[in-house]
Symmetry: C2
Subunit: 628 residues, 2 copies
């Protein structure tokens, strides 16, 4: 398969696409081996490949999993094999019947003392592992999550909940499935045609006891359960994945806005406002700016938020390493879950907006946008579904509010505002609001105060709604919680937008004052704030800092920002410096040769090799030549 | 190709998919011929086929075009050929460089008096026809739009603007492109793999003068331009397409909500609020209702709005037929353009929401949702781009406001409210608001007043913003208009939501009072209203009918509606009675056998025929068997 012409990728059948993905992977691995980069973080490769290849799951998910769940001895044995791709692994958690509710997994793991083995079994149809990337066709091994059952002294079976075991599933000789293993690909998907998300059924498959991932819990030869020292540490791994998703969103959104912005200065349509003779660049229409600029602002905002979150993560990892101190974990867990949701939604929305802003040509795969979008959006669902994670974040924030109300100190940097707001009430904001309300309103410090206050008030009003629900309806907590799901999402969004805005402003403040870069970023930051404020205006109005008289001025300010940002728009996306190959887009090319490229790619595609289509003789000729 | 197993469609290459589409089409046409249904509206076939086939463009777009633009004599000749598929046509308007701006087309049509022919030419790369469905591989003829150039008495060339000519492009003998014709497929797209959107370059191609579509304008043998009697009539055809899109949205959205609702009562996840022993149906979580129910309400709302709009269209067509009376055209033109935008956005959004509500399995093509979505969303861009059409509607509404302010009577049923509001100001609403504000607020009549008022106020505030812009900045109209693009969209949305709500309420009022159906629909209608009100709350607050004190009660009422609608949810989608074949979804099956079907379709797909994947020997074996 020809790796160099990604535009022809779309003409392959699903099977051919997968084989091509293997070819691309094999090339990538050759390069890594040659340059001695096998241990390097794989992200840079995936970034530039711009291809969906199944090794991603091995490089990122499987290796990430064993690094966090396997013991040092296990790693010593497995890591060299895995880094050299002699062992290719994947992560089998989800089942046909269970995704979000991991506690409900049905796969069983029983210890067989006689042979010192675990026996893993899929007892029902719905216990079939499903969705596992790399499983369908590629991997030789997989980490299987199942319910661990052990016998106590009296022979009584006890369930210790989900645990992970490394299971070989394909022969290292000829790649055929091992005995007791039924494995395959789960079928076509919205995106990721080059990845073999798979299914797996295990029929009483045995593995040695030492295959259980045992950094935390372990099972003794007698079949006794040995508890993990820090059960919460187990979650530290999941946090890492979400931090990565937040940081990585930037690499996707930046592509979309690069394509849409560049195309919008090549594309001209209608004799325009600026010059009655030539057609206007579509980016000169305020509506086009409205479709694209907020996402440029968001992209920069997410970049800084990702950096901020990642530095919190590094701090936590250092604490754990230095003194097994996990005190930063709960806050990071809440923030990473919440931001994962807000950022993946925002990124998906931005990519789609950019695609639509390219008009008809955005619907062509040659624009690069359909594939970018279809591949990206799975993140909204995977690694913690976006409607379930925010519930965890909201729970954490409500707990912080409770602490504040009980006078207990809140230590987390990102949530300390709950305490401040709780004690200061309306004062903090009034300090900033001068007589000349509007010029102050568009000051970043004031905007930050508004977002902070809005988040606090959302948390507080959710707490009050829970109180109401519990007292008035005498319902149980679970049903009150379920009824307030939507409020949890609202709370999460408010908190995370504050987090993002705060990160953005902090980063701007670290740039020398009054330089041009600082000015440009300040405008973007203002746009990020005002755009989101305008979208949820009622939540801000509700707290009476703003009145309805500010609605029109806010909209006017947004229009003014568009005009101010317009001259820098192209530079703002050129700054990402994404190579044309990586972008894979006829519309987003650096040199602007949009139409020439569309023509070339379309005209030369395999489908146009023959001038008469397959099926003409059988299906068309009889119609066209029929008698009237 | 196997027509009966659409789940295997996804494994074909693009070329194979197209050939399969031809096979499906040929089968369809056989059935139509056998049953004598060649003249029947094709929509019912496309509805049930649930396949993207290129004949759609012939049946709907090409036939629609010649029916509205060809003269009676031309139709007499062409229609029998077209209805029997001896002539297969398509609609070539868009060019590589011009879509929305039809006036900017570059293709030329010159009259050659000597031979009584037109010569059609593509003078530039960007004049290449592009995106035309059915053009790439299928059709024998196409209607080409180009600039008509005619010489006046003095031999001076004059441009009469875009006109349409029927051009044969492929041999009726062997389907090869005719001389001077360069034609092909434009490449892979987000959806519609079975359709051959194509490109076309014409190198001084000649056709007889009689091939110009001449219901309206025509050219005499001497090369003189004969003006159309009613130039506006030309737009009547476009109106028809948009009315159809509005009506048809229902058939797409109803599929998505059927799939998501049915799946959500099969899918169980987490021990839930209602029963601590079994897992809850996910539809019992209020958040899941929040993700799906507003779209059920919207689907019903669009159904009634579509019927309403279509009856206006029928009325106009009857007027034109009876007495060439086109007085209803401007209003219908504005409403159909505006509703096309609002309804296609709402439908796309609903389909995506339903897909996401299915969690991981919604990302599988076996859910039916990715294909539904990817195929549908092109409508947001095609047939009038969704950010350009609303500008026309806003212009019309502003004109109505001007009429009202000048005391001129407004006759259109759907816009008369502008006059009423203009004269009555705040009175109308106050009549409805009783002392007990909230119980009244949730009355449909009051909600309708709120939407009406909000629309009027948006129109008025846009008019004021234009005034401001013109006077204060001394800018020209075009640049003020461009700056206020976003406001035009806002105006359009407000007007169209009022139109939709009004249609919904009128339909409910025609149902016998207090019957169960009326109650169910009333709840849906309320949800439609409150859901949209809540989303644009600030626009409603701005007019001071509502105060921030009503925000919480509105949210509470929405939660109450969820609980009230929940028992009817499944019946509400079963009522659409969509056959399983038409739905093409493992998740949406009527019998609920979700997991069995997923397993069967996945396990039996062609990709799983061989247990060792193509490429193992070449790409994987060397890795797995390499030395450490
Ligand atoms: C492309 C892709 C790749 C994947 N790769 C892997 C992989 O490599 N390994 C692996 O193990 N898994 C993988 N997965 C699976 C993924 O982790 C799950 O799909 C994800 O966890 C969501 O779970 P679910 O599909 O069961 O959704 P469900 O939990 O069934 O959700 C269905 C709906 O119910 C709602 N819902 C459920 N519970 C609640 C509640 N308590 N309150 C309110 N609403 C609720 C959800 O919000 C959602 O709308 C992958 C999935 C995809 C799409
Ligand atoms: C699937 C599909 C099928 C199609 N089938 C056919 C067919 O059979 N025959 C045919 O002739 N055509 C067909 N088309 C083409 C279609 O009609 C055009 O794509 C559509 O008209 C949009 O035009 P455009 O692509 O030129 O967008 P543009 O007009 O180039 O729009 C690009 C961007 O600029 C913005 N913009 C442009 N002008 C303004 C303005 N004045 N103010 C503010 N913003 C502006 C738009 O909003 C958009 O965001 C098809 C397209 C698709 C996607």
């Amino acid at each position: 398969p020809n790796i160099g012409q990604p535009q022809n990728y779309h003409f392959l059948s699903r099977e051919e696409q997968f084989t091509r993905a293997l070819a691309v992977s094999s090339k990538m691995i050759q390069v890594k081996k040659k340059l001695g980069l096998l241990e390097m973080s794989p992200n840079i490769f995936y970034y530039h490949l711009n291809a969906e290849i199944p090794f991603l799951l091995h490089d990122v998910v499987f290796l990430g999993c064993i690094k966090s769940l396997a013991s040092d001895e296990q790693l010593k044995e497995w890591l060299p094999l895995a880094l050299n791709y002699k062992l290719i692994g994947c992560y089998s958690q989800t089942e046909l019947g269970h995704g979000s509710n991991v506690q409900g997994l049905e796969t069983t793991i029983h210890y067989i003392k006689e042979t010192d083995e675990f026996e893993i079994n899929s007892p029902t149809l719905t216990s079939t592992k499903w969705w596992v990337g790399g499983l369908g066709k590629l991997c030789t091994h997989t980490v299987v999550f199942g319910q661990l059952w052990l016998k106590d002294e009296h022979g009584q079976l006890t369930n210790y909940g989900p645990h992970a075991v490394l299971v070989p599933i394909r022969s290292l000789e000829d790649h055929t499935p091992l005995k007791g293993v039924t494995v395959g690909d789960i079928g076509p998907k919205l995106g990721f045609a080059g990845v073999d998300n798979g299914y797996l059924r295990l029929d009483h498959v045995r593995v040695p006891r030492s295959n259980m991932l045992q950094r935390f819990a372990r099972v003794s030869p007698e079949g006794l359960y040995i508890k993990p020292p820090h059960s919460r540490l187990i979650y530290a791994g999941m946090v890492g994945v979400r931090v990565h998703i937040v940081e990585d969103s930037f690499t996707h959104l930046s592509r979309a806005i690069t394509i849409a912005t560049r195309y919008s200065v090549v594309r001209r349509q209608f004799k325009g406002p600026n010059d009655p003779k030539t057609e206007s660049k579509v980016l000169d229409y305020s509506n086009q700016m409205n479709r694209i600029f907020p996402h440029i602002a968001t992209c920069y905002a997410y970049f800084f938020a990702g950096k901020h979150l990642s530095s919190c993560h590094e701090r936590m990892k250092a604490d754990i390493k230095a003194r097994k101190d996990i005190s930063l974990l709960p806050e990071l867990h809440a923030n990473s879950a919440g931001l994962k949701t807000v950022v993946t939604y925002g990124t998906s929305e931005g990519i789609e907006a950019c695609r639509l802003a390219c008009g008809g040509h955005g619907y062509s795969k040659f624009s690069g946008l359909p594939t970018l979008q279809n591949n990206y959006v799975h993140v909204v669902t995977a690694e913690g579904e976006n409607n379930i994670l925010p519930q965890q974040t909201a729970r954490y924030l409500l707990k912080m509010l409770k602490s504040a109300s009980e006078g207990k100190p809140i230590t987390g940097d990102s949530v300390r505002y709950i305490q401040d707001e709780f004690s200061s009430e309306f004062n903090s904001i009034n300090q900033f609001m001068s007589a000349n309300k509007l010029s102050t309103l568009f000051d970043l410090r004031v905007l930050l105060q508004l977002f902070k206050r809005r988040s606090f008030m959302q948390i507080r009003s959710m707490a009050m709604a829970i109180q109401d629900g519990l007292s008035s309806n005498s319902e149980n907590v679970a049903s009150v919680w379920s009824e307030l799901n939507v409020e949890a999402l609202r709370v999460n969004k408010a908190h995370c937008q504050y987090f993002v805005l705060n990160s953005f402003i902090t980063s701007i403040n670290s740039i020398p004052a009054d330089g041009p870069i600082r000015n440009v970023l300040t405008r973007l930051c203002k746009l990020y704030a005002l755009y989101n404020l305008e979208r949820d205006l009622s939540e801000f109005l509700q707290e009476s800092y703003l009145s309805i008289n500010e609605i029109e001025p806010i909209r006017r300010e947004i229009r003014t920002l568009f005009k101010e940002i317009r001259p820098d728009a192209v530079s703002l996306v050129d700054a990402f410096d994404i190579p044309d190959f990586t972008l894979g887009s006829a519309l987003g090319r650096y040199d602007g040769r949009v139409y020439e490229t569309l023509w070339e790619w379309a005209h030369n595609q395999p489908f146009n090799k023959n001038s008469v289509v397959n099926g003409y003789d059988q299906y068309l000729k009889p119609l066209i030549k029929s008698k009237l």
